[in-house]
Symmetry: C2
Subunit: 427 residues, 2 copies
């Protein structure tokens, strides 16, 4: 098969006619498939049935520290939940606050808190004229939505194979005091699946921020979410690197069990320095009396310890890996020689990132939708939903069963082909 | 027994000596008792054992609307949880957002949201020079802590038998555009146990606020928390009254099941107009993907419906009522004729409010502490922890078992007597 760009106009027109017919046919099938969001599948959720035996009427509800988990208290989480999340997040339990069910909520509140109260004594951001965040792209739409809601200016930073373009990051952070943060998904990044190299992490840790209240927003959402394909990525622990580099307070690290137990019913935590913890505690002690300790207890007793949690992730991987194999296999097979796009082949996380020919992403996503396949909106992976190349599409393969995924991918590659041919004929 | 104020100096000195000896004796016992916070007792918590059977490995986790409660989604709560909370809060399900585990957290976030984003299009409060909240006193310390943290000026409003002094409320709200809110616990108020009269609620509903973003922060924490002593208080439903009075958007109503199921592991909700709901949804859709739907499902399936919840509250009352009887009985018996204080005798809620002779509250609380009985801090029931009369003490009788409560009350009345005698001898 030739590259599309090497086809003559007549060849393209013939191809277009053929693809249009296939597409019409696909549309007539009335499919309803979804590859839009990083949701665990029913099969993954069913695997967790024993979770609902963890606490029962005969349970002892006391924490290790002798706290009745059915009553008020323990603002920063019960000891054993802090220990579990500390192990998961590779820090000490002293550096952990366990919150409620959502790390996104912690991130939002962390930015909201900075807007209203500053960071460890700095001027509240709402009193400043201009606040800026750096945004490695493509990235996670919900991060960008937070900073957008607060009117924070977002600056695109290219995300390379080894992490964000650190020359640009250093240039901004070390010189512009309005730059107060950077959004990072450092491992199996959303959507590209990239894991930051040791060199990148060390350069992060050695930043010399112009703003004392600059923080790295380190959303390590996929820290143990390997595909177990024999090629697990390793990420250097950044809190420790920051300590070594003399920047102990520079990171807020976020994590949750949303994709370990249940989205919406997991536990989430913040990991950061003792200084930052003290500041955050002072604020949140007014915001709540405490989070759901029974759910913390459920998690600890379900997994026993971090080893239990990791073993558990292997079972998730057994379900997820064939789906990633199908995505990458299908793209390789169907598009591999056509020169109409590139895609990632990650070792973990929840996404495959697809880059279409420039100017094609919106068309592909809207054609997919027309044929009954919902994708993440084109542009979603960029601040303000503006992908300057209209090229990036996030593929989320985990939710559909493998049969549905195959059908959805069939539509997707068809739409990529057709949109690319249309583009070439326009050009 | 004579009133203390009618005793001669010699009689007071003799009494002081005797009380001092009793107090010394009490201190030597090494008691560790707590009447500080409104916590359910172990007996109440044990009563809920079946809650932990509600969801089990064999459960169907689908909501009525066909949503898998183990996965992401349903930002404002599953239909059946909205229905349950709507019944509890006497509004329509359309007027409900079910949040996480804490109504305090909803209140905090509601104020924080107003600071950052205004209310339904008004100027964000953080951009204004001065924001004021009215605070009926004595009131709930955690309300005052929220407004204090945001630098909102708090104005004391006397809380009478039928609710706040509405002449003052109208004067402030209808004339001062800096007045953006009032904190209310309208039923079995914390700490006085007062329930607002129909007249008071109607006057609230008919306010003509100078500020378009003025809202009533209606914390109906004890809506179904009767003592079932045959004298249940009734409270007019304020959303409905506000609609009738042409002020449909003027109230944020808060409630939770913290003292129905478990503190920290209940579900909490906001009830408000469709307009306000739309505004809040726009903001919180960025803050979180959704709250804990499994816990919502547990609550719905545990209670079946609002009737089930109300029946359940009668069982709580069976445990709580004897404690209130003991408090009020002990105060009547020990202090009834001494003229050293007044106290409430509520029909529900979690507190008895005690007013000592002016200038005695701090001393009483600190003497109690010395003797091993922790009370809510004196002043806590006033903004900035400043009780102008140093008189009010909140008694929280629910947590200790009845034997411990009796011991704690013995110490308390002793300290009231001694502090009062000391005061009279000073004066």
């Amino acid at each position: 098969m030739k590259k599309y760009s090497e086809l003559s106009k007549d060849e393209l027109l013939t191809l277009q006619k053929d693809l249009n017919e296939q597409y019409k046919d696909a549309c007539s099938k009335g499919l309803k498939l979804n590859m839009a969001r990083g949701l665990p599948s029913k099969e993954q959720l069913n695997m967790e049935a024993d979770f609902f035996n963890t606490l029962n009427p005969q349970s002892d509800f006391m924490s290790e520290a002798g706290i009745d988990c059915r009553n008020y208290g323990e603002l920063i989480g019960i000891t054993e939940a802090r220990k579990l999340m500390a192990d998961m997040m590779e820090v000490s339990p002293d550096e952990i606050i366990v919150f409620g069910n959502s790390s996104l909520n912690i991130m939002y509140d962390t930015v909201a808190r900075s807007m209203l109260h500053g960071v460890c004594g700095s001027t509240p951001w709402c009193k400043l004229d201009k606040i800026k965040f750096l945004c490695p792209v493509p990235g996670y739409d919900r991060h960008f939505a937070i900073t957008e809601q607060f009117g924070i200016e977002m600056i695109n930073i290219p995300l390379n194979e080894d992490g964000p373009d650190m020359d640009m990051v250093e240039e901004y952070v070390n010189n512009d005091p309005a730059v107060k943060g950077i959004w990072c998904v450092p491992k199996y990044s959303n959507p590209s699946g990239v894991t930051y190299s040791d060199e990148t992490v060390k350069r992060f840790a050695s930043l010399k921020p112009a703003a004392s209240d600059f923080r790295i927003y380190w959303d390590n959402a996929y820290t143990i979410h390997h595909l177990y394909n024999g090629k697990e990525d390793q990420l250097l622990e950044i809190l420790d690197e920051c300590k070594k580099a003399g920047n102990p307070d520079m990171v807020f690290k976020f994590c949750s069990t949303s994709k370990v137990t249940f989205p919406g019913s997991g536990i989430a935590a913040l990991a950061t320095s003792a200084n930052n913890i003290d500041f955050v505690k002072k604020i949140i002690t007014i915001q709540t009396i405490g989070h759901d300790k029974l759910n913390q207890l459920r998690h600890v007793r379900y997994f026993k310890d971090f080893e239990g949690m990791k073993n558990h992730m292997k079972k998730h991987a057994e379900i997820i890996r064939p789906k990633f194999d199908l995505v990458v296999g299908t793209l390789n097979k169907e598009l591999g020689e056509l020169g109409v796009g590139t895609w990632t082949n990650p070792n973990g996380g929840y996404f495959v990132s697809f880059d279409a020919m420039n100017g094609c992403a919106k068309n592909i996503v809207s054609m997919c939708k027309e044929a009954g396949v919902v994708m993440t909106g084109a542009g979603a992976t960029y601040p303000y939903k503006k992908d300057p190349n209209d090229s990036n599409i996030r593929i989320a393969p985990t939710f559909p069963c493998i049969e549905d995924l195959a059908k959805a991918l069939e539509i997707f590659v068809l739409c990529v082909k057709l949109a690319s041919v249309n583009k070439l004929l326009e050009g």
